[in-house]
């Protein structure tokens, strides 16, 4: 730790924002993709297995959670790309705070996810979806979602540091889709075989989705999942944050 943790992290965050300014199209695509998924599952494919009542009401909080989890891909891609670029050598030869590169990455990704969440909420409202429950519950739901994103971010950074190259990210991309769908974001576990239902219920994604549904008064909400929706991401962070920072500090060894 140095007295420059904050300024270095801010400098690295500014770098990511400058990248956005250079490539607004790429940022836009990243923001629009989850909205497209929402529209596709809500209207094109339609109707989740085992969901009674208004499917969009069930789907929207699930898509929020899914988007947060899939943010992992973007993080991994960005980190691996940075690793293959020469600029990482310059950063590592400077007397800057170890890990400020990673903090900049996570700040930018969190910002993008927050904007993405706002955009999806706007689209959901336009489609007639409503958050019930008070503003406190709404903020709590947003907090849970961003916490999940933050945990997935550090999982993503760690996996990216192991993978090293952007091509390796594809393997993870292929794996993350089944993990994302092996949850209750699109359908309830009631309609699944027992063993699958159990797996689905244990998926951290399901915990966050259920707790968020509960807070927002949406279909499929159940009380009592709040602790799991907090504990799961915190647990992931406790493991992957130190692993990622340590691995970054040991690059080149």
């Amino acid at each position: 730790m140095t007295p420059y943790v904050l300024t270095d992290s801010w400098t690295m965050t500014r770098r990511e924002l400058a990248h956005w300014a250079r490539q607004p199209g790429q940022v836009l695509v990243g923001l629009v993709f989850p909205v497209m998924l929402l529209l596709m599952f809500g209207y094109l494919i339609g109707g989740g297995r085992g969901v009674t009542g208004d499917y969009v009401d069930y789907l929207v909080p699930g898509m929020f959670a899914l988007t947060m989890a899939f943010g992992l891909e973007g993080t991994m891609l960005n980190v691996t790309q940075d690793l293959t670029r020469g600029v990482i050598d310059r950063f590592r030869s400077l007397p800057m705070t170890n890990g400020a590169v990673l903090v900049g990455r996570s700040a930018a990704d969190m910002l993008q996810s927050a904007v993405g969440l706002a955009l999806m909420t706007g689209v959901a409202y336009a489609l007639g979806w409503r958050a019930h429950g008070g503003p406190g519950a709404f903020l709590g739901a947003v907090g849970l979602l961003l916490l999940l994103r933050f945990a997935m971010l550090w999982v993503g950074i760690h996996l990216a540091l192991i993978a090293g190259r952007p091509e390796m990210v594809q393997a993870v991309q292929i794996l993350i889709w089944p993990v994302g769908f092996l949850s209750n974001v699109l359908a309830t576990p009631d309609a699944m075989p027992d063993w699958l239902g159990t797996a689905v219920q244990w998926n951290p994604l399901s915990q966050t989705a259920t707790a968020v549904r509960d807070l927002l008064g949406s279909q499929g909400g159940e009380p009592g999942h709040l602790w799991a929706a907090v504990a799961w991401p915190l647990g992931l962070l406790a493991v992957f944050f130190p692993l990622a920072v340590g691995r970054f500090a040991r690059l080149g060894r």
Binding site: T2, Y4, T7, D8, T11, R14, R15, A18, H19, R22, Q23, R85, G86, V87, I88, D89, R90, F91, R92, S93, L94, P95, M96, A100, R250, G252, R253
Partner: protein, 316 residues
């Protein structure tokens, strides 16, 4: 302050079965330019990356500006500048954004960083690049910006890994001028190169590196003496007479270059060799286009030391 700017003792780095550094020793005196010369794969980049804390050696003692690269990496990083073999720049950002970012990470503060970036852009003739991202720079512009980035804090020790590879003669002259002015200001420079001329022009000392070790280390003059002192070159008018000339010249160890109609041999006594050769040629009626005494070139030293003639001929 430590006596030497750079101390490397028995440095080792192994990749699988490949010994990139195989017990390398090097001492660089403050305020001098030390060239590290060697063929592809000799271990030059591995050495520079180890010295600049990017790569952890497997063994050995390595100190830069009196600080251990392993245990005092941050102290080392505060004192060095690095121009790597490949550009270490953010390709998506423009030149000013790059330099300001690196200056902030050197903790110059926002205002000072802006001023420093502007100074360096001006000094390296990059002010006109405006908002163009580095990805669209030419190779020479990129190299200049990279060099500028390595000079943000006037480093005590500067590492240059093949700084002029891929530059045109003007770009090369600019880099050389920059290195000379830095050394004039007291900077210690460790420079790797594959160009013997570059080492000859810039360096106070030259270390020949091959297979991860220093084969020899000395001043350019000392190294040239190593191959046996002076040489005599004889260029004939008629290539057909080369064979006859080799047989009758009063020297040994003659090498023949048919394309250039050239005979070359080491000599012990300059004047007696010269007059002996001229007389022998006259007596045999062989006409010479040129006869000259000279110091050996570093190419010959290189060839002599690595014992690998083919590699040098390919490069030439």
């Amino acid at each position: 302050m430590a006596d030497t700017a750079i101390t490397v003792e028995d440095a080792r780095k192994t990749y699988g079965t490949e010994h990139a550094l195989d017990g390398l020793d090097l001492h660089v005196t403050w305020g001098t330019v030390h060239a590290v010369l060697g063929p592809n794969g000799a271990g030059k980049t591995t050495l520079v990356r180890t010295l600049s804390t990017l790569l952890r050696p497997d063994g050995g003692r390595i100190e830069v500006a009196g600080h251990d690269v392993l245990t005092e990496a941050r102290a080392v990083r505060r004192r060095i500048g690095l121009l790597g073999q490949y550009a270490a720049l953010d390709e998506q950002l423009d030149g000013r954004q790059n330099l300001e970012m690196f200056a902030r990470l050197h903790h110059l503060g926002a205002r000072h960083a802006r001023v420093r970036a502007a100074e360096l852009l001006d000094r390296f003739d990059l002010t006109g690049t405006g908002r163009t991202p580095v990805a669209r720079y030419s190779g020479g512009m990129r190299r200049r910006l990279d060099l500028a980035a390595s000079l943000i804090t006037d480093p005590e020790v500067l590492f240059l890994d093949e700084p002029t590879t891929g530059l045109d003669p003007r770009g090369r002259a600019e880099v050389w001028a920059a290195v000379r002015s830095l050394v004039g200001g007291g900077t210690t420079v460790l420079l790797t190169t594959q160009y013997l001329e570059e080492a000859d022009q810039l360096a106070h000392r030259i270390a020949f590196v091959d297979h991860g070790r220093v084969v020899t280390d000395g001043t350019p003059d000392e190294l040239k003496t190593l191959t046996g002192g002076d040489r005599i070159d004889v260029v004939l008018r008629d290539a057909g007479q080369l064979g006859a000339a080799v047989a009758l010249l009063p020297v040994t160890g003659v090498s023949v270059d048919t394309d250039r109609r050239l005979l070359s041999a080491p000599v012990a006594d300059r004047m007696s060799a010269l007059s002996g050769v001229v007389r022998a040629l006259e007596a045999a009626g062989i006409e010479a286009a040129d006869v000259a005494l000279r110091r050996p070139t570093l190419d010959e030293v290189f060839l002599h030391l690595t014992g690998d003639e083919n590699r040098v001929k390919e490069a030439a």
